[in-house]
Amino acid sequence: MKKRHALSTRIWHWINAGALIVLFMSGLNISNAHRYLYWGDYGFDPADAWTRVVRFPGWATLPQHYDLAAARDWHSLAAWIFASGLLIIWIAMLINGHFRRDIATERKDWSIAALTSEIAAHLQAKFERHSSKYNSLQKITYGIVYGIFLPMMVFTGLAISPGFEPAAPWMVDLLGGRQSARSLHFIFAWALFAFFAVHIVMVIVSRPLRQIKDMITGGKDEDPSHG
């Protein structure tokens, strides 16, 4: 029997979820060390900041009190798991066809009619379908998360590391300088959080227990075309 989710997808999904939660919460702790974001190469004066970030409360951070050293320990450890996991799942998706079959969009996925009907269905919380295939909105969303949000976390993270910079100074230049890279690291982290929030809501409104069970056991592929 064909599974709805491949084993590689399921293992990565949960390991990555754990790594992202550790990265996000330790990242909020690190953000509390200097709550100003800048554009360009340098930035230290709050007067030059494009934004002042709120101080994140202890319950949202890892550790639960301000501890820059411990937060950086967690962040550097989870970064390995996150970045190598992302590389492995991309290779797996390209080899097993998950990307081409389920995520890559076709012209019809971008048609106004298809998108408006998908959005209307989402707003009415109509998720009963006879196929396991992703709809257009899902394909586009997962494509953006896999192709832009997650890789950008790795690139912007590498770019703000002074020991990595001599290996690829062009990466920092491409991102507009170190403080711009730091700002983008923050922005993409929140973009991922927004995805996370929508993802959780979508799971909750569309038979949550089955969704979670399928992401653990693999579930059953109900797409007739997969026979």
Partner: protein, 249 residues
């Protein structure tokens, strides 16, 4: 009012996870996991960049309008204030430890050595950056002159300042010690280094974060091990705040 239970539920879940995390980080196995991750970062960065690859250098026009002072902003002793007032005529930099020929230099002697000038970006562990032009002799030249013994594995920097009642110090390995941009700076943007930035001498370790760049420098010491210095973790912030010894991340 509806969101209070939801918020406490979220906080509860976070606390549950964080409680488990605290047990991990407090355990010996957890700490060695962190150390391993740090070690891999250092090895990966060195493998990718090579040992001698330079940190980016900017043009003089890129220098930031100010260079933020952080940590120690002065040395709170009358001896230091006297030196500051006299232009550091009595300041000495001692080079010693595991070397064949220890020596000490005055500021005039340091200024007479071959100099390197570099406009570099300084990244603080807190997240901010400043750009400045630094001038001074390369550390490698001083170590060559002192003839470092083969058993030396680290270079320790001794400083005049204290923080929270402890002597500030830092250390690097021989790879960074012999890096071309590792200089003992005495000029910032063409002028003697200001008091808040570490007058009269400050280390530049350009591929690592700001806390490695020891200020108010008085001594350079070659050692085989860091175990018997301070609390043995290789630096003030490493001992006091548990900061990572390798600050390239």
């Amino acid at each position: 009012m509806v969101d209070i239970p939801r918020r406490s539920l979220l906080a509860g879940i976070a606390a549950l996870g964080a409680g488990a995390c605290a047990r991990v980080s407090d355990s010996e196995a957890g700490q060695s996991l962190f150390d391993t991750a740090e070690d891999w970062h250092r090895k990966a960065q060195r493998a990718l960049a090579g040992r001698q690859r330079l940190a980016p250098e900017y043009s003089r026009a890129d220098v930031s309008p100010d260079f933020k002072g952080n940590g120690s902003l002065t040395v709170d002793t009358s001896a230091y204030r006297d030196e500051l007032a006299s232009g550091f005529t009595g300041w000495r930099l001692a080079v010693g430890g595991l070397v064949e020929a220890p020596f000490a230099l005055t500021m005039d002697q340091i200024r007479a050595l071959p100099q390197r000038t570099q406009v570099t970006r300084h990244d603080c562990v807190e997240g901010w950056s400043a750009i400045g032009e630094w001038t001074g002799p390369q550390l490698s030249g001083l170590l060559d002159r002192a003839r470092v013994k083969p058993e030396a594995n680290f270079i320790v920097f001794r400083c005049a300042d204290t923080l929270y009642g402890r002597d500030y110090y830092e250390s690097i390995d021989m790879v960074d010690a012999n890096h071309p941009q590792t200089i003992i700076a005495h000029l910032l943007n063409g002028d003697p280094i200001p008091e808040k930035n570490g007058a009269p001498l400050r280390m530049r370790i350009e591929r690592q974060l700001g806390y490695k760049h020891a200020k108010y420098l008085t001594g350079i010491e070659a050692v085989a091990s860091l175990d018997d210095i301070g609390d043995g973790k290789g630096g003030f912030w490493e001992d006091f705040g548990n900061y990572q010894w390798y600050a390239g991340i």
